[in-house]
């Protein structure tokens, strides 16, 4: 039995009857990583937000989304909130605006830890420091004293991931965590994810429009387009032998891009290709 089971998830805008996500189904086993790929606007984030009850009030989600056989879509707000903090963790795309600009990072991390676990402020502070150390941040005490606008995007993203790890959730949903970062930071964050998966064996849902990244991390892949599920299967199968037109197109484009790049690099530096 899978940990997460989503069947025929549909998200509809009640103001103009527009369908944003249509009949999406997938399942995630424990200790696996599901990669959701697609272009911008394909409904990737919307699906996961709908499962967690984070969509705007004028959007309605129908269908079924089960966590450990418990239906999430019709759950009451309070229980869902508790699940969001303790069992699910979501890492957002834009780390720079994710924190309240008026409070220090440390204050907000402690606030989160105290709310979701039964620890005191002192214990929370310790846990936060350890989490930041695990994320290979050199001076965690200094970082905790700073405000969001004083830190770089990559650093903030690592704080968010660190905080998510510290909560020890069952599932982590990473929504395009590397999109807003430059390539150096991107690489660091991805290595982080790889390392954590190997260390903790956590269940991960990774949303990205970058196929290379997904290939790196995922076990299963869900390809989305215009709010619909286009193809769903194991990662090797999708990348080596995509069935649907669109998946083929995505994979081919990606290979073409990297091929050009690799050729250019070879010419430039006599690199062995």
């Amino acid at each position: 039995m899978s940990l997460i089971e989503v069947k025929n998830l549909t998200v509809c805008d009640t103001r103009n009857d527009e369908v944003i996500v249509k009949n999406v189904s997938f399942s995630v086993e424990k200790n696996t990583c599901l990669g959701i790929v697609g272009e911008s606007g394909s409904g990737k984030s919307m699906s996961t937000k709908a499962i967690l009850g984070l969509i705007n009030p004028w959007l309605k989600a129908t269908g079924s989304a089960k966590l450990d056989d418990v239906e999430l879509l019709d759950m009451d707000k309070e229980t869902l909130r508790k699940i969001r903090g303790r069992r699910f963790c979501m890492i957002l795309q834009d780390a720079m605006t994710a924190f309240d600009p008026l409070y220090t990072i440390g204050a907000q991390m402690i606030e989160t830890l105290c709310e979701n676990t039964d620890c005191t402020k002192g214990e929370a502070e310790q846990i936060a420091l350890e989490a930041l150390e695990k994320m290979l941040i050199c001076d965690p005490e200094e970082v905790m004293k700073k405000y969001a606008h004083q830190l770089s995007g990559g650093m903030l993203q690592r704080c968010i991931i660190g905080m998510a790890m510290a909560l020890k959730p069952e599932v982590i949903v990473a929504d395009e965590p590397t999109t807003a970062l430059d390539s150096i930071n991107q690489r660091e964050v991805l290595e982080e994810f790889k390392r954590l998966r190997e260390l903790t064996g956590m269940t991960l849902i990774f949303i990205s429009h970058d196929l290379g990244v997904v290939q790196h991390l995922a076990d299963n892949v869900l390809v989305m387009r215009y709010g619909e599920c286009v193809e769903y299967g194991k990662v090797e199968q999708i990348f080596k032998n995509p069935q649907h037109e669109y998946s083929k197109y995505l994979v081919d484009t990606r290979i073409a891009l990297t091929k050009i790049f690799r050729e250019a690099m070879c010419k430039e530096s006599n690199y062995s290709c």
């Binding site: 967690l52 963790c89 924190f99 402690i110 709310e115 502070e125 004083q150």
Partner: protein
């Protein structure tokens, strides 16, 4: 303990930061920038009255029911120092003003300063009560409307607020007098006697500003609700009340400038209310002075109010800067 370092009380942090150089520099920079504006305002205040088409000497005589014969006018001009060249008069007036000497009223020949000082406490009292009403009602209404956005209460409040901005405040004052004083006999109709007499004037004065600030706070909070940090707070599983607290703090930041400026606006806005309710403050003094063409009083009132606005603006700016860690940290 270390936690205290991270979660230091904002006030203590502010005090620490003021001692920092860049905050001090910012304050000094603003003070220097304020000086030419203050000078310009004093000049404007002086010019406005001096450019009057009526001859102040003649006016002064007429008000005291003395026939303005050419000799009398010449004599009065000399007495009032009106025969000196323009800039000399301006400098004299400015220097005297800084000492609190605004000359004497044309009407009763008492020192203008004395007249104003006796009238100010009443105005400040009225403005303070009105400010209290404004802050309590607009913050409560604004926050509740934002939290329960789209509900019936929200829609009704927004309708009322809208009407409030279109209603002439003197009309509201009159209606309130009729309802509460004449019909229900709950409050006195005019004058300043005891606490109950300040309620109607304060409510009338506050009504215009309540509309503006309720709308402002509500809109600020709703804008903040759409921010990314609110989404992330929900993702982290924080309680609804905690999230609202975060939103509120961020909204107050932006509303603070407007709320701060409401203080001088309330003091200036007492002009109408004091006239309806026969409240013995500077508003009533000013209007009477306009009717009597009592220029020294008008001049002093205008200068005082203008300076008050500029100074309040400055204080509010500094205060906002202190509260916002982005500015505070020298970014």
């Amino acid at each position: 303990m270390f936690v205290r370092n991270i979660c230091k009380h904002p006030f203590l942090e502010i005090v620490d930061k003021v001692k920092e150089d860049y905050m001090r520099d910012y304050i000094i920079y603003r003070l220097i920038g304020m000086t030419p504006i203050l000078l310009g305002i004093s000049f404007l205040a002086f010019v406005l009255i001096t450019l009057s088409p009526s001859d102040p000497a003649e006016v002064a005589l007429r008000v005291n029911e003395i026939t303005p014969t050419p000799e009398a006018i010449a004599l009065t001009r000399e007495q009032l120092g009106l025969d000196k060249p323009f800039f000399t008069r301006y400098i004299d007036w400015l220097v005297a003003s800084l000492h609190g000497d605004f000359g004497n009223s044309y009407v009763n020949n008492k020192p203008v300063f004395h007249e104003i000082i006796t009238a100010i406490p009443a105005t400040l009292y009225l403005a303070a009560v009105a400010l209290l009403f404004t802050v309590i009602v607009s913050v409560t209404a604004g926050v509740l409307c934002a939290i329960y956005e789209g509900s019936i209460g929200d829609k009704v409040t927004r309708g009322l607020v809208f009407l409030g901005t279109a209603m002439p405040s003197f009309w509201v004052g009159l209606l309130l007098i009729w309802l509460f004083s004449v019909k229900l006999d709950l409050f006195p109709t005019s004058g300043m006697q005891g606490f109950s007499s300040v309620i109607l004037p304060a409510v009338t004065l506050a009504l215009t500003y309540i509309s503006t600030y309720t709308r402002l706070i509500r809109n600020n909070m709703i804008e903040n609700k759409q921010e990314n940090y609110v989404l992330y707070a929900k993702v982290r599983g924080l309680k609804e009340s905690t999230i609202n607290k975060h939103i509120f703090k961020n909204s107050v930041q932006s509303s603070l400038t407007a709320l701060g400026m409401s203080i001088p606006k309330l003091i200036a806005g007492t002009v109408i209310v004091e006239n309806i309710f026969a409240w013995p403050g500077i508003g009533r003094l000013c209007v009477a002075a306009i009717f009597n063409r009592d220029f020294p009083i008008i001049q002093a009132y205008v200068l005082m109010m203008a300076v008050l606005f500029v100074v309040c603006n400055f204080l509010v700016d500094i205060f906002s800067a202190l509260l916002d860690p982005r500015i505070r940290q020298g970014e």
